[in-house]
């Protein structure tokens, strides 16, 4: 049973993914800005995902205090142009915006990882085809592609996620491709290959876990990018359509009331900025933690 014992050896040779993950967290803790961002994001996500359940007012219901009412205890942020509770809309809008960001990121990660890992691992024809497509997508300025895709595919929330993901995977594929090229040369991958593991198994069990930290960094930055893109396409009227609130379309809608009710424009704008800021800080912090060479000393 030489094969079986070889396989066991291979399993032992699998690098200690567990340990690396802890190192990452310890290093991240040393970076105060990134660690604070992590906590801040956890709180924001908790608030927008649980908040709508606790806050009694609906984001679509018209209140009895009229339009553009100032803040009161019942309506902490006042009401909007149609007399809807702004606090409820901020909570629900945040939920949609962050969900779009998270889903688009996940989609991008899946597409990007598959394409990058396959191109790097299989080489030859697969590599040339996949990397040419990646390069072509890099040569089209994102926004042109997004605009065209949204007009033909429609602006439902699902399509917005899909279209953002269809442009977001490119960067991730490049990162994963580079890392795969590096890791596939290692002895433990060779050993797995010699032990007769299938290509799929080698990729999923041996190569991808090594790249996971880089994927997490890219994913964090991809969320930031997706949220910004969603708000930008909302500005052009091609994002998720009202009455479904998102921070992007609330911002777009607030423009006409910028003098009478500036808070309508300031709130979603500030919310988008600080969430994206926190994701960027977290992504940078994770990158520094992964590769101390880049860390600011």
């Amino acid at each position: 049973m030489l094969g079986a014992s070889l396989k066991e050896d291979v399993n032992q040779a699998e690098p200690q993914e567990e340990k690396r993950r802890f190192v990452l967290l310890t290093r991240l803790k040393q970076n105060k800005v990134a660690f604070f961002s992590l906590w801040f994001l956890l709180i924001v996500h908790f608030v927008v995902f649980v908040g709508p359940v606790l806050w009694p007012l609906s984001p679509d219901e018209l209140t009895d205090v009229g339009a553009l009412a100032p803040w009161t205890l019942q309506h902490p942020f006042g009401t909007d142009d149609l007399g809807r509770d702004v606090f409820a809309r901020m909570l629900h809008g945040g939920r949609v915006t962050l969900l779009v960001g998270l889903c688009a990121m996940l989609f991008s990660l899946i597409i990007g990882t598959i394409i990058g890992a396959c191109a790097g691992f299989f080489g030859k024809v697969v590599e040339s085809i996949l990397m040419r497509i990646t390069e072509a997508m890099m040569a089209i300025p994102n926004f042109f592609f997004v605009l065209v895709a949204l007009t033909v595919l429609g602006t439902t929330p699902v399509m917005v996620v899909v279209v953002i993901a269809l442009t977001g995977w490119v960067e991730i594929a490049r990162v994963v491709y580079g890392e795969t090229l590096k890791w596939k040369e290692y002895e433990f991958v060779e050993a797995a290959n010699a032990a007769g593991a299938s290509a799929r198994r080698i990729l999923l069990k041996y190569v991808v876990p090594q790249i996971l930290p880089s994927i997490i960094v890219s994913g964090t930055l991809a969320i930031a990018w997706a949220i910004l893109t969603e708000s930008a396409i909302s500005y052009l009227g091609l994002g998720i359509q009202p009455p479904t609130p998102t921070w992007g379309n609330m911002l777009q809608n607030s423009q006409q009331y910028i003098w009478t009710a500036p808070i309508l424009g300031v709130l979603p704008g500030v919310a988008i900025t600080i969430v994206v800021l926190a994701y960027n800080f977290l992504g940078d912090g994770l990158r520094d933690a992964l590769d101390p060479r880049f860390a600011k000393k």
């Binding site: 890099m138 089209i140 300025p141 926004f143 065209v148 033909v152 910004l228 500005y235």
Partner: protein, 316 residues
């Protein structure tokens, strides 16, 4: 050099081919495809006539090759909505976008190098932190929101700058008016690339000043000023040329939003019109032209890079 250029030319053709395939099939195979051109109130006969006139009754693959055939002869078709030649419409708009992006690059590179060098030389001090923090903020603010705030401040409140348009052109060109129209769009567009240039300059500069030859320069008694600005900066700047190539697609992307905010009649506002009007020939034309712009500018960047960096120059 000739071999390098030929190689790049071949790659560019393949890239363009893939880009056109992706766009063409995205447009034509998506539900609601080109048939969306039709208005709701059109009678079945009118629809049929229109489908035949636009050649939409042929299979997609045939239409694609017909399109490629005429595109190779420099004919990108006729715009659905304005019945003008696509080439003409793009030629009218493209110079404005190029003007906007070129001035943005000049501004961002100048400001980025100054800030990046400052940040690197004051590493770990307050200046460094402020610059780093501001770069991340610049990357995180929705640019259209920042643009609206600037319009509120400079156009509405203070009345210093015009809020939209490309300014006086042609016969009544006037420098002051031109500059005041350009100022805010350039500032907003630069937020998409400036932070990257700052960060890149910072790390490039930090890497150079830790090199041995800089220590040698110091130990042979060169003045600190000369060490920093003659020995270090010159070498730190070379990689910055290469990052400009990477940032060009992002810059053109950002130009769409910037042009929309400031009513800048470039190719960004044209793609918005084309997309909203489902003007398929125009969409295809713009995609091809904008990809060409990216490819050509990347080629220029690479050629400049190979001429500036003696290490790359000798390799080629």
């Amino acid at each position: 050099m000739v071999r390098f250029l030929l190689n790049r030319f071949g790659q560019s053709i393949i890239l363009l081919f893939i880009v056109t395939v992706i766009t063409f099939f995205l447009i034509n195979l998506a539900p609601g495809g080109p048939n969306g051109v039709m208005r709701m109130d059109a009678s079945p006969e009118e629809r049929q006539a229109m489908i035949e006139r636009l050649g939409l009754d042929e299979p997609v693959i045939i239409r694609y090759f017909e399109w490629v055939g005429s595109a190779l002869q420099g004919d990108l078709g006729t715009s659905f909505n304005s019945s003008e030649a696509v080439v003409q419409r793009i030629a009218d708009r493209l110079p404005y976008t190029i003007e906007l992006t070129v001035f943005t690059i000049i501004f961002s590179v100048a400001a980025g190098i100054i800030l990046g060098v400052m940040s690197a030389l004051k590493r770990g001090k307050a200046t460094d932190h402020v610059i780093n923090f501001s770069s991340v903020i610049g990357l995180s603010v929705p640019s259209f929101w920042l643009g609206l705030m600037l319009i509120l401040l400079f156009s509405v409140e203070l009345g210093w700058l015009p809020s939209s348009g490309v300014g006086p052109r042609g016969a009544d060109f006037e420098f002051g008016g031109w500059l005041s129209h350009l100022a805010m769009p350039v500032l907003i567009l630069s937020t998409t690339v400036l932070p990257n240039i700052v960060r890149f300059t910072r790390s490039s500069m930090l890497e150079v000043i830790s090199q041995n030859y800089i220590r040698t320069a110091r130990s042979k008694g060169a003045k600190e000023f000369v060490v920093l600005y003659v020995h270090s900066l010159r070498n730190a700047l070379i990689p910055i040329i290469s990052i400009i190539g990477v940032l060009i697609p992002r810059l053109l992307s950002g130009a769409v939003i910037t042009e929309a905010i400031f009513g800048w009649t470039g190719i960004g506002t044209l793609i918005i019109e084309a997309a909203n009007g489902r003007d398929y020939p125009l969409i295809m034309g713009i995609t091809v032209v904008i990809t060409l712009v990216v490819i050509v500018s990347n080629l220029v960047v690479d050629v400049v890079y190979s001429q500036v960096d003696p290490r790359v120059k000798n390799l080629a």
